[in-house]
């Protein structure tokens, strides 16, 4: 018994010793900033001119939710972006996955092709799409003109009506690779005998998709959906690189607004309030999805 206790103490010491660097990292670079920005969100603090943060409690949050028109705009844009991105990314990656799965040859080649944008940095995607959709020199408008659709050409990122959707397009192009791989894994796991039985019973391709493929793909669709949803609420690099939140405030998202408050206006209290409100929104949607996402389904996925 004595020996056991000694070993246990030694194990614990060893464990503490090896965990210490990681714990230190987590405390300094994650826990402390999160807690400190939580404190800052309860203060009024101009980083350049105030000697110290002034505690105002929840008044900053109340003021922001009630009166800050830029926060309202950013929240509205964020929701618009999330819905459009969720629908587009989900639908495109599902359709592409079904298409790739039906191929007899070259499945791996297409997997690589669709996954490639995932490894391109988001800022580079932004710059590339800014050029592609440029009103005068962009290839997209050029192709439209060649096809006799000159009247459709547009300043895609320069006009409020199309700017946000153009950002959705760029982000979808970059991100679908990951969900496509998830869906493809699910599709490849569906027993061929199931499909063959359906065909014997006279089911056509679309009936096969609706009645055999989609129900069996449900756990994978839920995992992919959560991943897309979280990404749809974390939007910063693209509007920062391409539009700067404009034209006007048409592409101002919550993350971008928080950054502007912190690094342009140096209002650290307000910036932290936006960051915490964004975190609350993400938590809320994750909770909703957790309600839908039953544990047994998760395990299966």
């Amino acid at each position: 018994m004595k020996q056991l206790t000694k070993n246990s103490l030694q194990d614990r010491l060893n464990l503490a010793f090896f965990l210490f660097p990681t714990m230190l990292f987590v405390i300094i670079f994650i826990a402390f900033p999160v807690l400190f920005s939580g404190y800052l969100s309860l203060t009024e603090f101009n980083y350049a001119s105030d000697p110290a943060p002034k505690f105002i409690g929840l008044n900053g949050y109340i003021e922001m939710i009630k009166n800050d028109v830029f926060f309202h705009t950013a929240l509205f844009n964020q929701m618009r972006f999330a819905v459009a991105y969720f629908v587009l990314a989900f639908a495109v990656s599902l359709v592409l996955a079904i298409f790739v799965n039906e191929l007899r040859r070259g499945v791996q080649v297409f997997q690589v092709i669709f996954y490639m944008p995932m490894i391109v940095p988001m800022s580079l995607v932004g710059i590339t799409f800014a050029w592609i959709l440029s009103p005068d020199l962009g290839i997209f408008n050029h192709v439209l003109k060649l096809l006799g659709l000159g009247h459709v050409t547009h300043d895609w990122y320069g006009e409020p009506s199309t700017a946000l959707n153009s950002l959705v397009l760029a982000r979808t192009w970059k991100m679908i690779g990951f969900t496509l791989i998830i869906f493809l894994a699910g599709l490849q796991g569906i027993s061929k005998s199931l499909k063959e039985s359906a065909r014997v019973d006279g089911a056509n391709f679309f009936q096969e998709i609706v009645f055999i493929v989609l129900p069996n793909l449900k756990p994978y669709m839920l995992i992919g959906g959560i991943w897309i949803l979280i990404n749809s609420l974390k939007v910063f690099v693209l509007p920062q690189v391409i539009t700067g939140g404009g034209p006007g405030s048409a592409t101002m998202t919550l993350y971008l607004y928080s950054w502007k408050l912190a690094f342009e206006r140096l209002h650290m209290g307000e910036a932290s309030q936006v960051a915490y409100l964004t975190a609350l929104i993400i938590l809320f949607f994750t909770w909703i999805l957790n309600l839908i996402f039953k544990p047994e389904t998760a395990q299966k996925g």
Binding site: K6, L9, Q10, L13, N14, F17, N46, Y47, A48, S49, V69, F70, S134, P135, D136, L137, D155, Y157, G158, E159, P160, G244, G246, P247, G248, S249, K260, A262, F263, E264, R265, L266
Partner: protein, 437 residues
């Protein structure tokens, strides 16, 4: 336990060895303390448009006691700098660059060194172009008196550049000079741009409607029209007068009638002007000169002001050089500013290559190698011009202006509604000006 102690012992020994090595490495440096390091930071565009590296080398050679380090400040890091300054350290001793709006938070926090002592000899105040120097004149953060927390070293003025070939094709050329816009009366104004539009393949007039240039596009012509672009009570830009309504209406009509070739980013604006197929461009004088990089002939460009701009001016802005208050080598930094940043050679090099306006009056004479015949027009507009005030809530105000001015200019919102919205949403902002009057 034994294993644990062994690992701990090894770590202690390694740490001791590492620390010892550091100490040994530091010792020779202490012996050479007489050589002082001057760290000069500048954003990438300064390295491009000023021959900073070469002139810095000359400074290095002329001062054997100084080791000069040039730092490329790829991103503006105001908050990062403040964090260091709060600890009493600084990543650089002198910073070459920074517009008024970028420097405003640093100056309002009192983080930069007063530069008043530098205005002696060749750099006496009356040697400067007055309008440019005034952009560096601020109220003290303590609220008692005024001072210079930075010194503008390069100037820009918003002015109209015209494409001379297109002007000739449009019949707007007379006696070797461009025919000016005859006045602000609607018919004369429209006729002038209408004629230019006939001869311009891609539209008569380019303007950039991004967050930066939209303020100059709006304020400059109103100032030319009335002598001021501010509300009478000083609370923001003029959004209530007839002049304000008239100008925004013209902007909208020019767009709706296809006369305007507006863009939403600065780069698109420069590219459009450089197609050599647009008649005029309202922008900084230096960017207008960039057309020469395409046509290789400076006579392809002439400058004109908006009607009455020679009398009432336009908008100027500057970029400044400044020293953090906590910098240790302030004497060296000041010597560098005097000998390099304000040297005739470097300032004229920048104008001769990129059209950036020198801030010293004397530098406009001998040594200027191009656009000599256009200088009187540029300087007459610049002399009467003034900078955008540095409101305490400038960033918030710019966000509001950016929300509505381009909407009206591009014809997506009525002029009255846009001006009313600006008025309503900026009601609670702090419009006290950081600059001294």
């Amino acid at each position: 336990m034994k294993r644990f102690l062994i690992v701990l012992l090894i770590l202690c020994v390694a740490t001791a060895l590492f620390a010892g090595g550091q100490q040994e490495a530091a010792e020779p440096q202490e012996e050479q303390q007489e050589v002082r390091t001057l760290r000069v930071a500048a954003p990438p565009w300064i390295y491009l448009k000023f021959d900073l590296e070469n002139y810095a080398k000359e400074f290095d050679a002329a001062h054997p006691e100084v080791k000069l380090e040039l730092i490329r400040a790829d991103k503006w890091g105001g908050p990062t700098y403040i964090t260091e300054w709060k600890q009493g350290t600084t990543p650089f001793d002198v910073f070459v660059g920074g517009s008024g709006s970028m420097l405003a938070p640093l100056i309002s926090g009192g983080w930069t060194e007063p530069m008043d002592s530098m205005f002696t000899g060749d750099m006496a105040k009356d040697e400067f172009v007055g309008g440019f120097l005034s952009a560096g004149h601020y109220k003290k953060p303590e609220g008692d008196g005024t001072y210079y927390p930075c010194i503008p070293f390069v100037g820009e003025v918003s002015i109209i550049g015209v494409n001379t070939s297109i002007m000739k094709d449009a019949g707007l050329w007379e006696g070797g000079s461009p025919k000016p816009i005859p006045g602000w009366e609607p018919q004369a104004f429209r006729n002038w741009f209408g004629a230019l539009n006939e001869a311009s393949e891609l539209g008569a007039h380019v303007q950039i409607w991004d967050r930066e240039f939209m303020q100059y596009n709006y304020a400059g012509p109103i100032k030319a029209m009335t002598g001021t672009f501010m509300e009478e009570d000083g609370r923001g830009f003029d959004v209530t007068s007839d002049a304000a309504k008239r100008w925004l209406t013209y902007l909208q009509e020019m767009h709706d009638e296809g006369v305007a070739a507006y863009t939403t980013s600065d780069d698109q604006g420069y590219q459009k002007w450089k197609t050599n197929a647009t008649g005029s461009f309202y922008a900084a004088q230096g960017h207008i000169m960039e057309l020469v990089s395409v046509t290789e002939d400076e006579s392809d460009i002439a400058y004109i002001g908006w009607p009455d701009a020679d009398k009432n001016g336009s908008i100027i802005w500057t970029h400044s050089v400044w020293i953090p208050k906590v910098a240790k080598n302030k004497d060296l930094a000041k010597a560098f500013i005097r000998e390099v940043v304000f040297s005739k050679e470097m300032q004229q090099w920048s104008f001769n290559n990129y059209g950036k306006l020198p801030v010293m009056k004397d530098y406009y004479g001998e040594g200027i190698t191009w656009f000599q015949d256009q200088m009187p027009t540029i300087l007459s507009v610049a002399d009467a011009s003034s900078p955008i005030p540095l409101f305490a809530d400038l960033q918030e105000y710019l966000d509001i202006l950016y929300k509505y001015l381009p909407e009206a200019a591009f014809g997506r919102m009525s002029v009255d509604k846009a001006l009313q919205n600006i008025q309503d949403e900026s009601e609670d902002l702090d419009f006290s000006d950081l600059r001294a009057q």
